[in-house]
């Protein structure tokens, strides 16, 4: 076991699947010799050859077409869309085609594609690079949408994503790439694609978060603990489907919940979680459902990111409000 960054954990998982299954292919813009603009695929072309790890022309819709066509000829594609903002160029490929194709063939053909893409704010990227676009994809039947919040899950989930016969959108958080290290086994292991995880146990209030906001929520939980407020933090990990059982079990214990997301508030993952809770667990709650989200503006210009993205203080404040209701 070694300490690994989130990005190294993904590289390690990709190395594993390329090694295990000769039908896996990694391709996209700059993923070959350059190892990706973030170096997520670094060393893989040298190790597995240009046939398995290769650069494509600069066109995202073409990349998705390639993935679908390669699936039709027996391959297991792992395309990279260089930044999530660029998925707009591949929207028909992902949402119009890939997500529907298993259904369109009446289950006769599989499309085991894992679309990897970095997302999330806080690293002062150029415009259109940092958006949180998950809600466009979580409203797409047929597509699994997952995002790990730590290095251990990153490796285990990328392996599960590639092994899944369903198409998976694998969202990698830009800020987490190099900002956290954790113990990651060298050997192969998997983390399920459809389960949330209780990352901190507590009894007074449940905080549901995903991706970088899990860390903010954990920081908030530390602060709340100083006032003897015991917060349970749940990492969703999968945004589609959402593991409501884990959330409901926690609410049965705490009777209070705050949902946290980095994306804008409107029509987001948090709204879906809130609706699920309202449908099934409203009688178990003794306070309104709290939500923390970015405001409903267009994603901000880089210099204003830190004023816009919800942080630990925002989570703590909302948790106190709900706890004291």
């Amino acid at each position: 076991m070694a300490k690994m960054t989130y990005i190294k954990a993904i590289t390690s998982g990709l190395d594993q699947v390329l090694n295990d299954d000769p039908k896996t292919l990694i391709f996209g813009e700059d993923v070959g010799k350059n190892g990706g603009v973030f170096r997520t695929t670094v060393g893989l072309q040298d190790k597995y050859g240009e046939d398995r790890v290769f650069d494509t022309p600069l066109a995202e819709s073409g990349i998705l077409g390639l993935a679908i066509g390669l699936s039709l000829t027996g391959w297991r594609p792992i395309p990279e869309i260089q930044f999530m903002g660029f998925t707009f160029e591949a929207m028909d490929g992902i949402v119009g085609q890939l997500a529907r194709d298993h259904y369109r063939f009446g289950g006769q053909k599989n499309f085991p594609v894992t679309v990897r893409t970095p997302f999330g704010g806080g690293t002062h990227t150029a415009e259109m690079h940092a958006d949180n676009l998950e809600n466009y994809f979580t409203s797409t039947p047929g597509l699994r949408v997952v995002t790990p919040a730590n290095p251990y899950d990153a490796k285990g989930m990328i392996i599960s994503a590639v092994e899944s016969d369903d198409p998976v959108l694998f969202m990698e958080n830009l800020k987490l790439y190099r900002s956290m290290k954790a113990e990651v086994p060298d050997e192969k292991y998997t983390v399920p694609l459809d389960s949330a995880k209780v990352v901190r146990e507590g009894t007074d209030i449940t905080i549901v978060a995903y991706s970088a906001e899990v860390n903010e929520s954990l920081k908030a939980a530390d602060a709340l603990a100083k006032d003897n407020i015991s917060a349970e933090v749940i990492d969703l990990r999968s945004l589609s489907p959402i593991d409501t059982e884990t959330i409901f079990a926690s609410i049965d214990k705490t009777h209070k919940v705050v949902i946290v997301q980095e994306a804008q508030r409107m029509a987001g993952v948090g709204a879906t979680v809130a609706a699920d809770i309202a449908e099934e667990k409203i009688m178990s709650l003794d306070a309104p459902i709290g939500r923390v989200a970015a405001p409903d503006s267009v994603y901000p210009f880089a210099q204003a990111e830190n004023d816009w993205i919800p942080n630990a203080d925002d989570v703590e404040a909302k948790a106190r409000e709900i706890f004291n209701y």
Partner: protein, 371 residues
């Protein structure tokens, strides 16, 4: 202004000459039924020519019968194909069963020729999942999002290359309007960048619903667009089945040999409406425009050649038409007997492994469906 008249670059001349390689569409039999390329024509036996004729009569009859079915409300979305028989039958017959077909919605006749049934074609039109499950697995459903089949073709072709399938290509169809899509360029360019075995057909039938060909682009031909991607291309008389077939065969040979993709523009015409769903061509085009195309009909010219050779007769054709009509009526009965679709099945096919929410919905619908 500097003195002198020398221009560093003569854009006017470049513009005026860029379509020069495409001035003469490939033709073997002209519109009068005269063989203009006897050397190529000599490659075709009477049996082969008669087979071409039968296939075109089959497609024309299919067209007429589907229009009847549409009027009777027995089909859903259906794109008429009259006028495009030479382009469609001439091309698809150049491919082998293992070749992978990526059609658009006007390409049901090629799908049937490539190894599905007429009943499946009707089921697709009616909106039934069995219409997308084919005996020959080497095809997808007709693509509705124009251009998407082109980028997917690049992927299939690359997969074929990576699988080292030596006698296999991907082939795709779109129309003149389809060449305006970004995906058209991305698909042709990706196939070219990977030198993957793909044959791309553009059936230029003059119209994208109501928008004429000349409004799609100022390029004189659609074939020449391929040049920018480093892909060889050709314009062929799409009303001449021998020319289309010969060009398609050459393209397949070229691609199979590892030379990368080819683009073929067939010059044809959509005799009827865009679709059976209420389009009325008299809103946007004139009888004067239509007439020369009707006169160039692919059946008329081959019929003349074969009749002159004494290997085709009107009686023979009438009998074929009657047989085909019976086949199509039988296929419609088969399609109408397909089991009703179930929402629970749709839910089962949404994911390989249903999500918890979908599992719950499957149970709800199964309960409803068992009542």
């Amino acid at each position: 202004m500097a003195n002198g008249s020398k221009q560093i670059v003569d854009f006017a001349k470049i513009k005026a000459t860029m379509a020069d390689p495409y001035k003469h569409p490939v033709q073997v039999i002209d519109r009068e039924g005269t063989v203009v390329d006897p050397e190529i024509f000599a490659k075709y036996s009477d049996d082969q020519l008669v087979d071409f004729m039968k296939k075109m009569v089959w497609e024309r009859t299919l067209h007429e019968q589907t229009m009847n079915f549409s009027r009777q409300g027995r089909l859903g979305f259906y794109a008429p194909t009259a006028g495009e028989e030479a382009s469609e039958m001439g091309s698809v017959t150049a491919f082998k069963e293992q070749d992978f077909l990526l059609p658009a919605y006007r390409d049901l006749p090629q799908m049937i020729q490539h190894g599905t049934t007429v009943a499946k074609g009707f089921l697709w039109s009616k909106g039934h999942v069995e219409g997308s499950q084919h005996p020959n697995p080497n095809m997808i459903f007709p693509q509705i999002i124009i251009g998407a089949q082109y980028v997917e073709t690049a992927g299939v072709a690359l997969g074929i290359k990576k699988n080292k399938d030596e006698d296999r290509v991907a082939f795709a169809y779109t129309g003149d309007g389809g060449t305006s899509q970004g995906d058209w360029y991305e698909g042709v360019n990706f196939a070219s960048a990977f030198q993957a075995p793909a044959v791309f057909f553009v059936q230029n039938n003059g119209w994208a619903i109501s928008v004429p060909r000349y409004k799609q682009t100022a390029a004189e031909t659609l074939a020449q667009k391929a040049v920018a991607m480093g892909v060889p291309s050709v314009q062929v008389d799409g009303m001449d089945i021998v020319a289309v077939h010969e060009v398609a065969k050459a393209a397949r040979d070229f691609a199979v040999a590892g030379n990368g993709p080819v683009v073929i523009e067939t010059l044809t015409y959509r005799y009827g409406a865009h679709s059976s769903a209420g389009d009325d061509p008299s809103r946007y085009r004139t009888k004067e425009e239509e007439k020369p195309w009707f006169d160039a009909d692919p059946l008329i010219r081959l019929r003349k050649v074969l009749t002159d050779k004494g290997v085709w007769s009107q009686d023979q054709e009438d009998k074929l038409v009657a047989d085909y009509k019976d086949d199509f009526k039988q296929a419609m009965k088969e399609a109408e007997a397909a089991p009703a679709q179930k929402v629970s099945d749709f839910l089962k096919w949404t994911y390989n492994v249903p999500t918890p929410a979908v599992k719950k919905q499957i149970a709800e619908f199964e309960a409803k469906e068992s009542k």
